[in-house]
Structure formats: C-alpha cells, structure tokens
Symmetry: C2
Subunit: 353 residues, 2 copies
DNA sequence: AGCCGCTATAAAATCGGTTGACGATAGGGT
DNA sequence: ACCCTATCGTCAACCGATTTTATAGCGGCT
C-alpha cells in the first residue's frame, strides 16, 4: 500500500500490452467496453489489481469535471449542536462514496467567505451549510445562490431565500415543552427567550404563545427575559446563568423555567443551585436541542430533541438528489424540510405538588 | 463570483495578449518572472483580477504534485475531546494556507483504513491522526509508516513506533490531581482507573502511584476499580455511573474520588447525587481532560486540563515542518512532544473538614 | 469487387495549469 | 565584425486520467 512508486494507468497498460485508453475503458466499464472480449478484460483487471493501481482522483476530476466531493461548511465545529449533524451528514455522503470536505468557519463571516471560495475552487459538487448561529447571514447567502452549486442549509430555516433547508419544527417543539410543564401542573413559568436576531427564537416563542393561548395560560412579561446577541454558542451558558440569577432576584416566584436551548438551561441549573433551590423539586427546567451534555448533567435535562443526526442524513440526501438532477440537466427543486421535534423527559422536570 | 463561466489561464492570456506561460509565470512570481518588466506584470495582474481569474487547484496539484492539503483523521468526531484539537489543528493549517481534509473514522478500523486510502489517493501532503481511543491501533499504524507521507499522532503516545506524536504528560497530570486532593486533607481516596488497553490508563496510574509513594499515602485496592474496555467514548459516563455505585455499595468509606477522565467523573457525580451524597461537601471528585462539559456541570468539575487546542496547533507545526523538510529532500526527524497538564480547580473538590 | 457493419484496439484531443528549453532582440565588450 | 549576456517571452512537453475519433481486420450482402 506504499505510495512510493505510484502506479499510473500507463504502467498498467504497458504491463499487459494494451493502450492506456483500453485500460481506462475496461476499468470504468465505459460504453465502448461492450466490444472488448472477456479475456482481455480479465487480463487488464488482474494486472491492475496485482499492481495495486489506483486511479488518481485529481486527474480524473480535472478531466471529468466531477470531484466526487461535497463541501460542508460548519459555522462552528465546537458547538455541540453541530457535531451530531456532521456525523449524520458525513455518514450519508460516505455511503454514497462522496468525500466530505469540511470547513470550519469559526463563527467568522470572513472565514466563511474565504472557505467558501476554497470549496468552490476545489469544484465541490454540492454544499451543505451547518448553520447553528451566525447572525450575519444574508450577505453570505447571496454568494451561495449565485454559484451554480446545489446547496442545503441545515439547522436553520430561512424564509426568504431560494435555498433548500432542513430544520426542526421549532414552533411545535416549544409548544411541546410548555405543554409538558402545564400538564405537570405548573402555572408560574419563567422564560429565557433566545436573542431576537435568531429566527429560531421567534419561532420557538410563537410556539410558546400558541400553546399558552390554547390552554388559557397567562404569560407574565416580568418573568420573560431575552438572551443577548452573541456569536459564541457557548455564551448562552453564561447568559442562562446571569438571567436566571436576575429572575430570582426579582422575587417574582416561578415553579418552572423554559430555556431557549440546553446550554441556557444548564446555566439556569447552576444559578438555581447557587440560590439553594433544588431542581426539579423547587423548580422544573426544560431545555431545547438535546445536545450530548443534556443527558449527562445532574439532574439530567428534560428537553426538546432535535434529531440532529437524521437531519444531517436528510441534508445529504437532498444535495445528492440535486447533484443527480443537475447531471441530468434538469434543475433541482428547492426543498424545505421541517423535522418534528420530540420531547425527552428526564430528571429536571417534576409534577407540581 | 459565480462559477458559471469559469475563467481559465488561457482566457486571461488571450485577454491581455500574452501566452498562458507568461501569465502563469507572472502570477506565481516564478523565478523567470525576474525578466518580466513591471508594466507587463501590471497588465497581467489587473486583467486577472478584473476577470476574476482563480487558478484551478486540481490542475495545479496534478502538475506540481502538491495538493496543499493535509489529511486529518479523527477517530471519533463526536468525542468532545477531539473537537478542540481539531479546532487548533485546522486553525494552524489554515494560517499556513493548507486545507484540512477531515475524515471521521467513527471508531471503526475498517472506516479508518478506507479513509486512509482515500486521503492518500487525494495526495495529501501530510497526515494528522487525532487518536483519543481506538484500541486496535498497531495494524493501522503499520500502513501509516509505510506510506511516505509525514504523519503526526496527537492525543496519545506510542512507545514503539517511529511516528511523531503529541500527547499530554499523563503521568504528571495524574500526580497533580492526587496531590491536589492530598493537600486538601483527603486520605481515603477511591480511584476509577481507565481500561488497561489504553496506554494513557497506565501512564496516569503510574503518576498516581508515584505521588502516593512520595507522600506516603496508602492506596487501598478495594477502592480501585477499572473501567471496562469499550470503543464508545461516551460509554465512560455510564461506566463511571456504574462503578461509583459499586464503590458506594461496598461501604468502604472514601472522601474523594479520582476518575479516569471527565466523562467518568460526570458519571460519578450522578451516582453520588443518587446516593444522596453532596459533592464536594461529602465527597470530592476530580476528572481529567477538561472537556467543555467539565466547566458546565453542577458542581463544575475540578480536573486536569489537557491543552487540546494548543496540542492541535503543535501537531500542525510538526507536519508542516516535516512537509517542508521533505521538500528539501532531507528527511524529517521523528518528534515526540509531551505537553504538561495543568490542574484546574473548580467546585467539585473541597478541603476535608 | 465493393461496401457495410461489427469487433477490437489505438491515437489524439482534452481538462487547466506549470516549467525547462529555446528564440529573438538589443546592448556591451574586444 | 563578432561574441556574449541580459531581457522578454513563447513553445511544447507534462501531470494522469477520460473520451471522441480513427484504424484495421473480417464476415456477409448485393
């Protein structure tokens, strides 16, 4: 398997006494191989195998204008929300024998742009953007639609753009969270909303209001705080910690808290503990996302699960379909998949006594 | 920036009335460009810029036999230990304008091998393996040394192989953990050792014994349990949970617990809580690694920090050096860097009353 | 005999860029 | 007048494949 004396198609050709063209035609099962007799094929194939011939993907791509690569732009790979998506995505692409070229934008628009260029330079056949966060989106997306590469954005929905998206049903998910608490008997509920700039914040809040209305639950605006905008996904832990502290100082009592996401909820857990309150006995907490941490905390977090790995797989399917469509000259439709969220009940919520 | 009518070097040449060779020579500042007058250079450069010319990396790589890519094999990207390393690595490579081609082996040797092939096919100039876990290493490594690509393994040290490695000083780190507890007055200390198959387990244990001996601390073998072997990095949470439960049932009292890693420690935290024990008041806990979770748990975890991002950066430096060395025909030395670990004191440890 | 079609294979063009060898011109030294 | 060198560029080969077109032998048909 050594890469020392790399064997080319010409080496194989010389070895078995045919021309490079014939070897190529045979090994690829090209249309012309119809006319090549079986024993010739056999000779070529065994020679290729014996010599350990592996076609050079660079040369192949150059000629055929097909890289067999899908670009994956991860907005921030240290975000625990991203890795499971990446896993599902990469797995599906691997099955389809596509290589994924992963670029990590570090939450920086400039890096996003430079990596985007690099990916396009490398002639990726498709592009998946794992967008957790990143407020400054619109300008970047313009670039995306302009280039002729099939694109899917996963993890976030965009209303106004003609890009395929895969995202969770935030509205329904948030409803589920609130419904869960309501059924447990909670009526005094505090909320930590997401930052306004994120579209998911609005969607989740809509779900909250929808359920509250349908159940006749009054939302007390004094118990609703909003996370500050920030680029750092890990900042929401800090924010959850701070804002929960603030809620507690206000001395407006509440028996349950709905956090924007799991990180916020984990911050809340710490703030409650610091005040000497027990979770779930004194206060129930629910998060959103079901990142890996959620199951490991003490108490483990009741949360609304985004099926991240599945979402990654779905995105892969959509790009691959789009690539196939482009191959056949027809243009791929814009797909917008909204995945149902699922309530995961763990230890952090309890029925009100 | 559309990829529609991609402009080639010949387009640029035609546009400004020179040959493709000249354009190439000028744009790359090749040795021959010495003789090209400034105004010619100017014309060519402005034409290239105006037309938005971007050289095709595939063609360039094919000709120059240099891909400007470093392969990064991640044993398991969902392991929280891996992502910060990846971050540091990718960042350093990016600065050196190398693209990192990330492959996720999913902890499966077969996948490791297939991806390795793919990376080598793509003519990566160097290879970094982020090895957290993966017991079945030796066979795979054989492949690595055989191919002529400069390789670094980060996250784990190998005694017997001639590959460059970057790893933390496990022995000293574990000593630090035990010393910390000792100074806090703890004498009855339980241990959850790592699985034997991992070399880091042995190293950490050696550090434990070394400190115990130097301090005259007796280790009670009844309070020492060992994690089962497993491929899944997240399994150590479960194991920590189970084994701590076992320790508690034995009713051999202990006031502190040293866990193999943070995940194990988090499992221990849960088990202790379930038994109604408070951390750190009733029992101190220290972990190892300082993964992102460690700071977010309640109580936050005192742990021994591996400077993962820095380790990633270091690995990048080593491969890049090796690549440069190969360029200049001299062969790169094998580097074995052992990075000092650092104790991070948080909430989970407390002085014995 | 001449032509067609089928089989089996090779030659040549192409993808887009890099690079060593060479051509042409002009100026300087002897 | 002759050679040498410094400038300024171009030509053509090459990287390693794929693909279109060409070539040649042969059997059958008219």
């Amino acid at each position: 398997m050594g890469r020392t004396g790399v064997v080319t198609i010409r080496d194989v050709a010389r070895e078995c006494g045919y021309s490079a063209s014939t070897v190529s035609i045979v090994l690829n099962g090209a249309p012309l191989s119809r006319y090549i007799p079986a024993d010739t094929k056999g000779r070529i194939e065994t020679a290729a195998k014996r010599m350990g011939y592996r076609p050079n993907p660079l040369a192949r791509s150059l000629r055929s204008q097909r890289s067999n690569i899908v670009g994956v732009m991860v907005i921030d790979i240290t975000d625990p929300f991203c890795t499971p998506i990446l896993r599902g995505l990469e797995n599906a692409l691997y099955q389809a024998s596509y290589l994924s070229l992963i670029a990590d934008a570090h939450n920086e628009p400039h890096r996003f742009e430079r990596y985007l260029e690099m990916l396009l330079d490398r002639r990726v056949e498709g592009l998946v953007v794992i967008a957790n966060w990143l407020v400054t989106d619109i300008k970047l997306l313009a670039d995306l639609t302009e280039c002729q590469v099939p694109t899917v954005i996963v993890g976030r929905s965009f209303e106004n753009h003609s890009v395929s998206t895969v995202s969770v049903d935030n509205e329904n998910g948030a409803s589920l969270a609130l419904e869960h608490l309501y059924r447990l008997g909670h009526r005094d509920i505090a909320f930590l909303r997401g930052p306004k700039a994120l579209s998911s914040s609005g969607q989740r809040w809509k779900g909250i209001r929808a359920f509250a209305e349908s159940a006749g639950l009054r939302l007390d605006s004094k118990k609703i705080l909003e996370l500050p905008e920030s680029l750092d996904p890990n900042s929401s832990f800090e924010a959850g910690l701070q804002l929960t502290g603030e809620l507690l100082r206000q001395a407006k009592p509440f028996t349950a808290l709905v956090a924007y996401d799991d990180m916020t909820a984990l911050g809340a857990l710490r703030a409650l503990k610091k005040k000497g309150l027990r979770v779930p006995e004194d206060c129930s907490v629910v998060g959103f996302d079901d990142v890996a941490q959620a199951g490991l905390s003490v108490p483990s977090l009741t949360t609304v699960r985004q099926p991240m790995e599945a979402m990654g797989g779905l995105s892969a399917g959509i790009v691959l379909d789009a690539i196939k469509a482009m191959d056949e000259k027809q243009d791929a439709p814009v797909v917008r998949r909204k995945i149902p969220a699922e309530l995961v009940v763990r230890e952090s919520t309890l029925a009100l006594k």
